[in-house]
Subunit: 589 residues, 2 copies
């Protein structure tokens, strides 16, 4: 019997928006604030946040992974990006909140136009980066108002049955998966701190904490994160701030070989101490809350902000992680291949729904015996649902996979040796000629990336056009990036490298990225062909002046050849396709 244990399909429950907003407005009046800005964020700018941090959803009913609300005395707006404009309409009470597409009006612009002059807009400095808070402050000033930090968050005052913070158990990430001991990693981090001419680095990204201390947790869904902070000084032992309730004695003892371990409550006082000692402290511009800058600065310290040096270190996988990724992909590929074979038998019967497919696929992955979680909730789109790029199937949207349609399924697994992410688009019954042609144009883009050869130093932005060229010549394109970085039993969406228009980080050997061009025909079907690729040494070229890199495709699962129009492929592309399937057959046995 198939079932999904790591994902659910419940429809979001409407929130009691009216009373909650009323309570918030009363609290804001008590605090003498004109309004509150509230993003969908936790203290670490995580993509997946613990239930205790889902303030935006509690207040508005909106459950998308990104959004912001501004609540003033007499009006309230919910800012959403293109992914969520339709979903938001069904989830929120539009008599209380106006939905504002963020591409039309940013929160800053809306504030300039709606904040009363002389007003005070409250914000929680733990939920905004310093740059984000600066932009809000400028917008408030432009409106003749001021931005005022509020602690505690007014939501926490009125959300009386707020869930407790997560206390997921922490496990050690064994060296046979991690490949590099914590002390070696700390040496590299300290060298970076010295070259940045700073006294200490605050590690605000829990992914970076997990990587540095070789631990994994279970505080959020789909990524094995321990929510924690750390401070690494230029010299001496670092300190890890984490709930002791998450640590068994064995884990604590192992950690203490490399680091001090203190409760989260000590974090703020230790930041203050750094400030009082007039230290220069480096923060991560992407995940460091503005509260950190305030605390250090107000105590007398100096703050510098920039790219997290640990982000680049963990993006480049070491040889053990690389072998782990290969093993995880053989395992995951076998499960997906079994699923695709089962799907080919089941779908034509006309009884299988999108949810059924997700349950089956997850069950095939669990049958490996090594699945720790799915790496994200599966995107399972039959027919027109496949054209909704961020479609999430629920009980009410569930749709039967019908003959004559395309079925798109994007899924992945978390294994201790690697994180996977794969999309396959399959024909159910007889596909139209247009579906086959457009699938083939997407495939040409996928193959162009898979076969790319590029010098050291080239960034993902400089490869992205090759994924689109075939579509472009037909007046088509896809409205998302070609690829994102992937972690090692960490986040399935890992920076800093990306294959996209704005992906400006140089690609380095050892990085793992996705290769996922697509094409979406609204109301009809969606196509995406995704494999993960590893940056490796490229072929030797006579007279080369720069080292060459290439991609090794990690993902092993058949591509639906009934959708391939071979007439549109070049000889080299046909050759790649045949070689890929031969390799799948050989490696999966």
């Amino acid at each position: 019997m198939f079932e999904a244990r790591f994902q659910s399909f419940d429809d979001p429950q409407p929130a009691q928006t009216g009373p909650r907003v009323q309570a918030l407005r009363a609290e804001l009046a008590r605090l003498e604030l004109s309004g509150l800005i509230l993003p969908r964020a936790d203290r670490h700018q995580n993509e997946y946040v613990p239930p205790s941090e889902e303030r935006l959803a509690w207040l508005t009913g909106f459950t998308g992974s990104a959004g912001t609300t501004v609540v003033l005395a007499d009006r309230a707006a919910l800012f959403v990006d293109g992914r969520y404009t339709l979903a938001a309409k069904t989830q929120i009470d539009t008599s209380v909140f106006t939905i504002v597409p963020i591409a039309d009006t940013s929160p800053e612009r809306w504030l300039e136009q709606n904040l009363p002059s002389g007003g005070k807009l409250g914000y929680d400095p733990w939920l905004h980066t310093a740059e984000g808070a600066e932009r809000l402050a400028r917008a408030c000033a432009n409106a003749g108002a001021t931005l005022v930090p509020v602690e505690p968050n007014p939501i926490d005052t009125i959300w009386t049955d707020r869930p407790a913070r997560p206390l997921g158990p922490v496990v050690l990430h064994d060296l046979r998966f991690a490949g590099e001991a914590t002390n070696a990693k700390l040496d590299k981090i300290r060298a970076e701190i010295a070259s940045l001419r700073t006294d200490a680095l605050v590690v605000s990204d829990p992914h970076a904490v997990a990587w540095t201390f070789n631990i994994r947790g279970s505080d959020v869904a789909h990524t094995p994160l321990p929510i924690a902070f750390a401070i690494v000084p230029k010299q001496g032992r670092p300190t890890l701030y984490i709930d002791s309730a998450k640590l068994s004695n064995a884990v604590r003892h192992k950690l203490e070989e490399a680091t001090e371990v203190r409760e989260p409550t000590a974090f703020v006082s230790d930041l203050k101490a750094l400030g009082e000692a007039h230290r220069t402290v480096r923060l991560d511009q992407a995940t460091g809350a503005e509260a950190l800058s305030r605390i250090i600065g107000e105590a007398g310290g100096k703050v510098t902000r920039g790219l997290d040096p640990i982000a680049m270190m963990k993006a480049v996988k070491n040889p053990v992680e690389i072998e782990g990724a290969r093993a995880a992909h053989r395992r995951d590929g076998a499960a997906v291949t079994r699923f695709l074979a089962w799907l080919d038998r089941e779908a034509p019967k006309g009884q299988l729904t999108e949810i059924g497919a997700v349950e089956a696929l997850e069950s095939f992955r669990r049958d490996t015996g090594l699945l720790k979680d799915v790496s994200f909730p599966s995107i399972s789109g039959a027919g027109p649902d496949g054209a909704i790029v961020h479609y999430r199937v629920t009980r009410s949207t569930d749709r039967t996979i019908a003959p004559g349609e395309l079925f798109l399924i994007d899924s992945g697994g978390q294994y201790q040796d690697g994180t996977t992410d794969i999309t396959r688009t399959v024909a159910v019954g007889e596909p139209s000629q247009e579906m086959r042609e457009r699938f083939t144009l997407v495939l040409k883009g996928h193959i162009a990336i898979a076969r790319a050869v590029f010098p050291e130093g080239i960034a993902g932005s400089q490869l992205d056009p090759f994924a689109r060229q075939a579509l472009w010549t037909h007046g088509l394109d896809f409205d998302h990036g070609t690829g994102h970085g992937v972690g090692s039993y960490l986040s399935v969406h890992e920076g800093p490298a990306r294959i996209s228009k704005l992906g400006n980080t140089a690609l380095k050997r050892g990085m793992i990225l996705s290769n996922e061009p697509g094409y979406y025909k609204a109301g009809e079907y969606g196509i995406r062909i995704e494999n993960l690729v590893l940056v490796v040494e490229g072929p030797t070229a006579a007279g080369a002046e720069k080292p060459l890199n290439a991609f090794e495709t990690l993902t092993l699962a058949p591509i639906d050849r009934r959708l391939v129009e071979r007439k549109l492929l070049t000889a080299a592309e046909i050759s790649w396709l045949d070689a890929y399937h031969a390799r799948v057959a050989q490696e999966l046995g």
Copy 2:
């Protein structure tokens, strides 16, 4: 007899650096400043500056088109980019100035490391953009020092024989070249001002002034600019601030049909008046000096900064400008083709030098009877000189064009109907097999751009990789962008569109850009193949969802087919090459 009237080949004269820096230090001490930062810039951030603004060259002897110096009491640094590190060593007195490659240490970083704590660094607020000044202010603050505006520029106090400001005569740019009357352009500008929610636009870019008011000037070399400012209010007549000595009565009367005309001295007082009336004034972030923000802000006004709306308007050429560009390129192409034929006869004799080639080419262009100027000083590189991307030949560097070498010549003309820019690389005698192969890889990149088909909305950064792909697979690349925008009898380097890694402006029909990939082997030879291209409507594709664009190649001159290794070309590339030469033959008659 051939001669160059629009360019010279004089070696830069060494400057009397010692006494001048001494005088500067004395003046700084009198002003109680710890130092001065001095960029190579005028009040409009022009690429070519009038002699009266060449302060950096006067002080340091450095004549490159970009650089900055910081002079402190006991040390001085000259910051140069990669183009000029070698040239700087020969031009400056290294006992007075330390050359600092800007890629290693930025001025801001150097200041943080060298400014004395409590010190005051002077800067001329007319020579820095607001963003540039902000970065300097932060760097000073990080060093415990302050950034202090100084007017007049201390150089002007000690440079007692400074040339007078330019008073080049202004001519009207006839409607048969401009294609759109000033009042129509002003209507569009006022619509932009309204949508930006601002009260007035300051036009600080003289190129934008020229375009808006359909005038051309002669205040700098190679670009027909009238140095001037303008203010365009949301409603009512604009004001043009320009030396009346530049205007004949006829030109003044014509201008006054559309705009007030006032002396440059009125500009600052009119900015103050806007401030005192609490207006919101929009500045160009690229060319607006920080002085403008100060004046308006200190008087009580509000300043917003962003991309110059006029920049985008003039980047998209109207039908008259487009026809003018085609005519100018037929004319210029005929001249270049005659030159190339002459070169083929002369060069093998072994007597022709780089300077001789430049003189000949300019003479062929002048023979058209319509050449107004060269659009930039020609780059004329024989043999190893071709590998120096920004090579400028002088009497002392002049080199004979020898058989067995490649000769690279990059040149262009200014005509009232268009601006041209073309690079040809020719073989003198017998080229090596490596030269032919690498020339062909560059040609493949050039053809990929020439044949590109891309949807509306695609930016130059998304085409740049196609120019490099063939080189990449051989472990090669070129260290500059693939293309820059070009004006219409205006700047040969016109933003905002670029075909380069950072070219993020969408390409629109009517834009003119260069297509100039290259390959440079230091110490041996350089290859560049450059044509200008016009963005036009692309082919119709069945089922297309987006409008398609393509390039029409404007430049008409033969490419040296002795350097083409046809075995490396695809059938489509050979077809393009043959069709191009057929078109050249046909259009040039």
